[in-house]
């Protein structure tokens, strides 16, 4: 996924060439003592090109980084405002789910499996800024899984897949736990190493956001995030934590695995 290194050599070479050119132009400038039009234009062009080339790596210089971050923050405000107009994600009535073609994904080296012997019985914990913290066993969660939906899954890479999931709407859990007034964010943690992602509460309360326990009518397999995973079409794939262990209501966001790696924290669709 990260080919930053692949570009580094190429970029370094370009930079060297570019610096040489800028240096030459500057030298000519110093010798002649004045800028002719040609010199001015080429200096201007190089001056414009240098930061651009420099920025080929997204961290591209502190200036570009800062600018992109500030525009990103504005975008996020707009996206959160737009969210209020959001309806449901829809797929055609006759569209079939991707089934086994839906890619499995985790960050551990091997498929993460809950080790009951070492860590005790798996349970989903709901805590943080709530009046009634919950501890739901796999059985309880499965019995609560009454919602079935066929929706799109939007990956940040650009592909989509139709998925058929059964589970508990997040709003149901929220009603049970009764979050306090300051709980504006929710963090979803997993046992897939330190993978977690935090959401704004508005996206979490979207009608189609749910805690999934079954896929295509079968209990979730370890490949797809067993025993339970988060899924909502309102967020990009990487925001949907698999291998869930804990849902924490919070007054402030606490980033996430991919959000901290440089992808947008909001990641909304």
């Amino acid at each position: 996924m990260h080919d930053r290194d692949a570009l580094t050599g190429q970029r370094a070479r370009l930079e060297r060439v570019l610096r040489g050119h800028v240096h030459d132009s500057a030298e000519r400038l110093r010798e002649s003592g004045q800028v002719d039009r040609r010199g001015f234009v080429s200096l201007l062009a190089l001056g414009l090109a240098a930061p651009l080339l420099n920025a080929c790596d997204s961290s591209g210089g502190p200036g570009a980084e800062k600018l992109l971050a500030s525009i990103g923050a504005r975008n996020e405000k707009l996206e959160r405002w737009l969210l209020q107009f959001s309806g449901d994600d829809r797929v055609g009535a006759r569209t079939r789910a991707a089934g086994a073609a839906f890619p499995g994904y985790f960050i551990s080296d091997t498929v993460p499996q809950w080790d009951s012997a070492a860590s005790g019985e798996w349970a989903l914990i709901v805590d943080g800024a709530v009046r009634t913290p919950l501890r739901l066993s796999q059985d309880q969660l499965r019995r609560m899984s009454t919602r079935q939906q066929r929706v799109n899954h939007y990956c940040v890479e650009g592909w989509t897949a139709v998925v058929e999931f059964q589970g508990v709407p997040f709003s149901t859990l929220a009603r049970m736990a009764q979050p306090t007034a300051d709980a504006g964010y929710v963090d979803f943690a997993s046992f897939d190493e330190d993978y977690h992602e935090s959401w704004d509460i508005e996206s979490a309360m979207h009608r189609q956001t749910m805690i999934v326990t079954a896929k295509d009518g079968e209990p979730l397999s370890p490949m797809y995030g067993a025993p339970a995973r988060l899924h909502g079409p309102i967020k990009l794939g990487y925001k949907n934590t698999k291998y869930l262990t804990r849902i924490t209501f919070m007054p402030a966001p606490n980033g996430g695995y991919w959000s901290d790696a440089g992808y947008e924290w909001f990641g909304g669709t």
Binding site: D3, F85, A98, A101, G158
Partner: protein, 374 residues
Amino acid sequence: MQGVRLESTPSVKTAIHPATPPATHAATGLIISGSFAGNALIMSSATARRERRGEFHYRASTAAQVWKKTAREPPGNLTSTWAMTSSTGTSDTEAPVASGGRGHAASSDGTTVRGTRHHPIVRVTHWVSAVALAVMATSGLRIYNASPAFARKGEAAFAWWPLEGMSAPAWLTFGGWLGGARHWHFAMMWLLVLNALVYLIYLFRHGRWRSIVPRVNAWRDAMEMARFYMFLRKAHPVQGKHNALQQYAYTMMLLCGTMLVVSGISIWKPVTLGWLTNALGGYALARWWHFLAMLLLTALVTAHVIMVFTVDPYSLRAMTTGGYDHDRWSPEARNARPLSRMLPARTPAIETSSLPASVHPDDAPTMPNGPPHA
């Protein structure tokens, strides 16, 4: 009952028939009046303000007369229909020459004076959009490369799409990695859109869209341009500010840009703005539309750049400092095909133009069917 019908039929005929002109005249009249009515509608406030300040002397009636004149008497100094030729000495010009402002001043000795070909707004937005489009296209390719296929997982591939699964070469991409490219893409989109809005507002407020958008019958002129480029005719077709091929290309660029923005928004927010995504055929197709519009726009821009350097390198100056000597530099004056007759034309013998000098180049008429000696 029957009597009434028999009586009424001839009376209706006589009422309508004499008033109906031949079809061709009707069509021509429609084009002229439609064009100038639209012009009056859009330009009214700007025109009024200019005229109050005394800097703007364009009048629809003047242009209409010019159009009729050239339509009736096509030969003569037609290559300079919109060149800035002097009107000094001709007493029959309707309006005085605008001084300063647009730079279409004519000198007193009857020689052509170079003027500003493009408004500063056009020159600035042109280069801003060049940078913005370059960053958008290259960062977009980096995003595309993360998943260079359009079909949904588990569904039949876009078998009819030859590029399905083909990724773009790394040197064409920008942003370094997927996340970085996304940041650039979602930041640069604002520059692109705001810049385009400034340009489009200028274009419509000042009526300049008429030099960009081809007329209904411009395809004939486009054919003539193509024939000229293919050495099937000797003389460069008479044109206004741009030739018909340019008009089609530039209008197509604007349409591609619009499509890019609309489809881009639809794949940015496929759930929140799901109605838009669905209108484009769903996310996968919307993404494909976005890609297709990019390919088409890139092809047009590439052709544009090639034509600038091989046919009209002088337009580089027109698009930066604004200076352009139509009578010596324009491809029309040089009778230039790609890579031929690159040097300026000899200054043509100045005839005192029969056209009023107050006609702005953009407003000059184009010959519907090319010159008669084609």
